[in-house]
Amino acid sequence: MNPAQDEIRFQVIWSNLIAIVEEQARTLMRTAFSPVVRDSGDLSAALFDRAGNMLAQAQTGTPGHVNSTVAAVPQMLAVHPAETLEEGDHLITNDPWIASGHVHDITVTSPVFKDGQVIGFFACTCHQLDIGGRGQGPDGASVFEEGLAIPVMKLMRKGVVNDDLMAMIRANVRTPDEVEADILSYVAANEASAQVLVEAVAQLGLTDLEAVGAEILARSRAAMIAEIRKLPKTSASNTITLDAFGTPITITCTLTIGEDEVLLDFAGTSPSHPKGINLVYNYTNAYASFGARCIIGASVPNNSGSLSTVRVVAPVGSILNVTRPNPVSARHIIGQFLPEAVLGCLAQILPDKVPAEGSAGLWGIQLRGGPEVARHFPGDWQGPAWETLFFNAGGGGARPMADGLSTTAFPSGVRAMPVEVVESHAPIVLWKKELRPGSAGDGTFRGGYGQSIELATRDGSPVALFAMFDRTTVQAQGRQGGTAGAMGALGLASGQPLQPKGVQIVGPGERLRFEVPGGAGFGDPALRDPQARARDRHSGLEPG
């Protein structure tokens, strides 16, 4: 075969591997029971080689999941090495320090066998709403309060479910049938992908993935290095402030462009926090490297090769690298701001390539109702126990050449669930979910608009809000003369404010209101296209 044909063949294989992990993600969404997975895509799905290097990942889910699965798989294989695994074995863990930073994410890694040999692994990480314990939130004082811990172990042996483990899980959660079915759906997605991979590899006349995998990793790394070498060898620092919990915290990032790597050093960041908003290193690494990757070599596929060119350092004991048993449940509140910290450094080096700050943190509204909540109030509330979580995005930062995207998640990659689906899962009614006029920062290009949400329980019963919201005291900041986006706010329609973090019980008959923050502007507002300005006014998004 001539070199051109070899090249076509390689391209076909690479494309195939990416298509297979995309299908793995879609299978997860089809088979999952948890609405955050099936409707919002809060998951990661990826293929690894025998040594545990990630070769391909699906373009869905959150960077926090995807890039931390990269670290999880080798650690899981360190406990159960590839050569000890048998066909039909599946490994599981939700250890925050091994996988993705809190016990609500379950990672399942499954070996792929071809002709009796392991040729690679499929791994997926999915958000599990119910893992026992308090329920997700920053209120625990240690990881022990945050739910059931599953160390690295075999979920299945030779195709048979580990009944002891499953009994233990079932006994610890509020909705055992759904949790069990969910976990089995992760296995189903990995197995279905394994079957497709084995067929594809055979069809292409390969015996394993070693040569192809090495080529993918080498090319991706080389492509990243070529991108890095286009940048000036310099360094930049940036500090951002977050509401956090009570007292504000600061994240300091120093970015250095090296010969063949980008170094992100978080020295100077606030120390660990007594509440569960701390990050494990894997999770910090995941979100921080995403921030660099979406500016530097954004079109290079994400895998262990491209990620190897971004190095993240976070001091042990800082809020970005805590040790056991610090509480970590609501770590995404801080994690979603790490790309902002990194972008603030890059904006000093590449001022015309980096967007203004956006709302960053998704506003995931997590509610619980039923007897456990209603018993605090008089009255005869009949409904069964329920729990729900649905995501709402604020405004994105303005781009150097375009307005920011309204109500669009960044850096998270999850989607919002349709209101009709939210309401068919939980006995609540959203009375409003609309763009929030006036919430975008001004500029040559304005920020994206946030949104306003108003909701109540359908029967007026009391409800517990697990608040995990940020940008309620510090706005998204503009760049090059653009102004800040609007802050977020929350409270009851009756006037009483709600705290942005922590569990709060809301009494009967109340409506909850959420004002999700807007994105900041980019460039001098005086230079904004008058037609664009007129359009926003005519749309009722700006006054006048």
Partner: protein, 690 residues
Amino acid sequence: MSEIRIGIDVGGTFTDFALATPGGLRTLKLPTTPRAPERAILDGVQQILREAAIAPEAVTGIVHGTTLATNAIISRHGARTALVTTEGFRDVLAMGDEGRFDQYDITIVKPEPLIPRWWRYGVPERLAADGAVLLPLDEQALHALARTLRDERIESVALCFLHAHVNPAHERRALEVLQPLLPGVLFSLSSEVSPEIGEYARFSTTAANAFVQPQVATYLDRLETGLAALGLTAPVFMFLSNGGLCHLDLARRFPIRLVESGPAGGAVFAAQLARDLGEEAILAFDMGGTTAKICLIDKGVPRRSPSFEMAREHMHRQGSGLPARIPVIDLVEIGAGGGSLARVDAQRRLQVGPESAGSDPGPACYARGGTQPAVTDANLQLGRLAPEDFDGSGILIDPGLATQALEAGVGAPLALDPLAAAAALAEVVEEQMAGAAREHAREKGVDLRPRPIIAFGGGGGVHAARIARKLGATRVIVPQGAGIGSAIGFLQAQAVYELSRSVAMPLSAFDAGRYNRLYAEMAAEAGAFVTAAAPGAQQVAQRTLFLRYKGQGQTLQIPVEDADLTDQDAPRLHALFQSHYAALYKRALERIPVEIVALSLRVAAEGTAPTPAVTDRLDRPLPETAMLYDLTTGAMVPARQILRADLGPRPLQGPALIKDKGTTIHVPRGFDARTIEGGHVLLTYTGQEG
């Protein structure tokens, strides 16, 4: 009575005709008349009937597909449309799914809604997820709104309330209130256009329906009147995006279902050919004047999808378009056709399309005022097309204008002579089409190399061999009637009616009475439609149950017998579901209840009239050789030139040109061509590129 049917495909550039009679199949291609598409149709129908010496009254059926709806959406030239929705939700169309379709690209663009915010209105009303009324519809507010809509000169209204797919009462009542207050205004109800859960997709589909409805409805009225005036009394059917047929009345109500009907016709055509030739897996490549379409066909059946994305904004990326929840044939369409225009951008990169010269003014060589070079101009310059190829279409070709345009538009900025400029233009557009095919194959996880390419449409035969080389494929089949493949596909469509009913019925509380009653209603509706479309034909009914574990996203479609059930059938249905699930995922789940989500029924007329073989052929004096651009040497070289009718089973070595009515087959060096069973032309890569 013998069947005489006409298939008519209105594309952006050409309107194609296929006339099927017991004696054979005739074809015709005319320039589209974009401002009044029925004009080209009426002219063409008269012309093709005259040529065949058939009286209009003898025609027994007309099948029509059009890009009118698609073009209105892509160009955003639709009606003044308002959205009337639940108060508090006027931005559903703008907020979408709140996600990003690319994780790493910070420059992504999301589509603007078809209806701007100032025409999106909230009305106090609210239904719950189970359809119960939480807040009654505020009829006073509707009266006030009617005045506003009149002041704004709104022509079409999308009525979209939350949970209307469960309980359509508020949408229906709003229609009753608004309709008499707004004479002449058309209404689209989300509970009728797309009665499924998920407000963004449902509202988006309904908004698009409303946006194109006035235009499509008046067009169909004019067409119907015009055909009747010619003496055509045969029923007119519209070809749908899912490859089926419908009445004009249904098309007027749900014009959104016509989106992509032309490309779907091409897919039906290619699928029939794949079945005839016994090809397991093919790539259909259909290149017309405005766009190119790519579709994967396995086992003779085009892939289907329950939804479709219209007008993708961001480099054709999945997720960057407007969702439409209508059943479609799964294909990709890109702005690369004979009329696609070339330009050189600020970075001195040669770009081709998606802007198209269409038929008016058309490529520069049409001498209708176009000055920018188009793909057709390049093909003329390269010798792949000749001015005589356009005989009979009413277009007079001036090759000098093609050269001028290539010189000015591409040659000068890139310092190339017109020939090199034409070669570069062809290379870029061929790479774009190959790239779209690769991307589609990647999304589906398919290896393109072993697949033959079935190439059709006016430009299919000109470019297919080069695309095959880029994709690593070694065989290209250019079928009989390739120039008008979609119009022939229309005639191969079955009269099919598919409908479904949402239910939420746990198998533990299976209600056979309700099940039987619902199916009886559906059978009556579908049967009546198919009888009207194909009188006297044998009908085949297929029942499919949509079952799932309660709480799971996945719904399995399980075929069941076409018969009434009793309550005692529930355990059997449960076991059936468990075995289907286990077949997919190795093991079924215990302890999780199974529910019926929907019942569906598909009724099809058994067997369509077989399409006769194409009988008309190109017959004109043709020099034995023509000068053709040679990629290897970059020079014009003499190439063999023959009429398609003269090509036999003996291989003809490239470089060569095979001329046919409506299309030319370009056989580059390295390929040979021969006629195979059925009169189709097979190009095979021999690897001898010299």
